[in-house]
């Protein structure tokens, strides 16, 4: 069942340029290296924005039924948060244990 939509190619080119721009900022951050913790936070923030752009536009979720997004994305985020919440506190415990 193909979805009948008008061509969004111009938008896709803009999204692509945005993705390249965010990648460039990430690489520049890797070059500057001011503070590893801040760099990690910023890199993950940018990656989440890039993930949103790819899922919403390239993977067409923005143009599909909202219910499709709702059934796929919240459980994915929940599982990732659960995994992080399970393991990261323990990693900090071990880090504190190190001589």
């Amino acid at each position: 069942m193909a979805t009948a939509t008008s061509s969004h190619n111009a938008t896709f080119v803009k999204v692509w340029i945005g993705l390249l721009g965010l990648t460039l900022v990430e690489v520049i951050l890797g070059y500057i290296q001011f503070n590893m913790h801040l760099m990690l936070t910023l890199l993950m923030g940018f990656s989440i924005v890039k993930a949103y752009l790819i899922m919403a536009y390239f993977m067409h979720l923005k143009y599909d039924r909202p219910s499709l997004t709702w059934v796929l994305v919240p459980p994915l985020i929940a599982c990732i948060l659960i995994m992080m919440g399970y393991f990261f506190p323990d990693s900090f415990r071990l880090l504190a244990w190190r001589p």
């Binding site: 061509s7 896709f12 990648t23 760099m39 993930a51 599982c79």
Partner: protein, 209 residues
């Protein structure tokens, strides 16, 4: 139809009308697979992060050539996602020849990514990086690098084969626009995973000055 007490019961038959979320079964199936595969990569990246917090981690990737190489790889993969999206759009407009062209270009992008990636792997292996040891520090560095980038590269390779089959069969009239769209979803997912692998594995291990 009646139930066991003889009361009339509405028959629930699906005559192939509206489907869940208004997407075809192939597209929904691919999305469900993507969510499961995304969790696989999330688990691997979280395990990698856990191990990184606890251990001294080497920073062996010099800006040139390592980061420049991986940045070019990122550019190639992002551009291949654009060509894929053009292909899906062409297929939706019934421009069969245009769609086939774009899908082949996408597969080519994937191939360029793999060749560049293997070249980089070869360079690291020559420097002594292995899954269980390396000259830079903790053995976990090589293990996590090869396993995570290796699993991703395997997905890219499968994608190149998948896209080639789609291009050939859609061009031959056997498959339709929905099949091109579903292949597109897989390809964008592979690109999406790289958006996280690149900063976490490469940029976070860039040579410190």
């Amino acid at each position: 139809m009646s139930d066991s007490h003889g009361h009339p019961v509405a028959e629930a038959t699906w005559e192939g009308g509206a489907s869940p979320f208004a997407v075809g079964d192939k597209k929904l199936g691919m999305w469900l697979f993507i969510v499961s595969d995304a969790l696989t990569f999330a688990a691997l990246l979280i395990a990698y992060s856990y191990v990184r917090v606890v251990n001294d981690w080497p920073h062996p990737f010099a800006f040139s050539p390592a980061i420049i190489f991986s940045s070019v790889m990122t550019f190639v993969l992002l551009s291949s996602s654009l060509t894929m999206v053009f292909g899906v759009d062409a297929a939706a407009r019934n421009d069969r020849r245009g769609a086939v062209k774009w899908v082949w270009l996408t597969a080519l992008g994937g191939l360029v990514f793999i060749i560049t990636h293997l070249y980089e792997w070869n360079h690291l292996i020559h420097e002594g990086v292995r899954p269980f040891e390396n000259p830079y520090g903790t053995p976990l560095f090589g293990a996590s690098f090869f396993l995570i980038t290796g699993l991703h590269m395997t997905h890219v390779a499968i994608g190149v084969v998948y896209l080639s089959v789609i291009a050939a069969r859609y061009g031959g009239g056997k498959y339709d626009a929905e099949d091109v769209e579903v292949a597109g979803l897989y390809w964008h997912f592979v690109d999406l995973v790289w958006m996280f692998v690149f900063p976490l594995i490469y940029l976070m291990s860039v040579k410190l000055h």
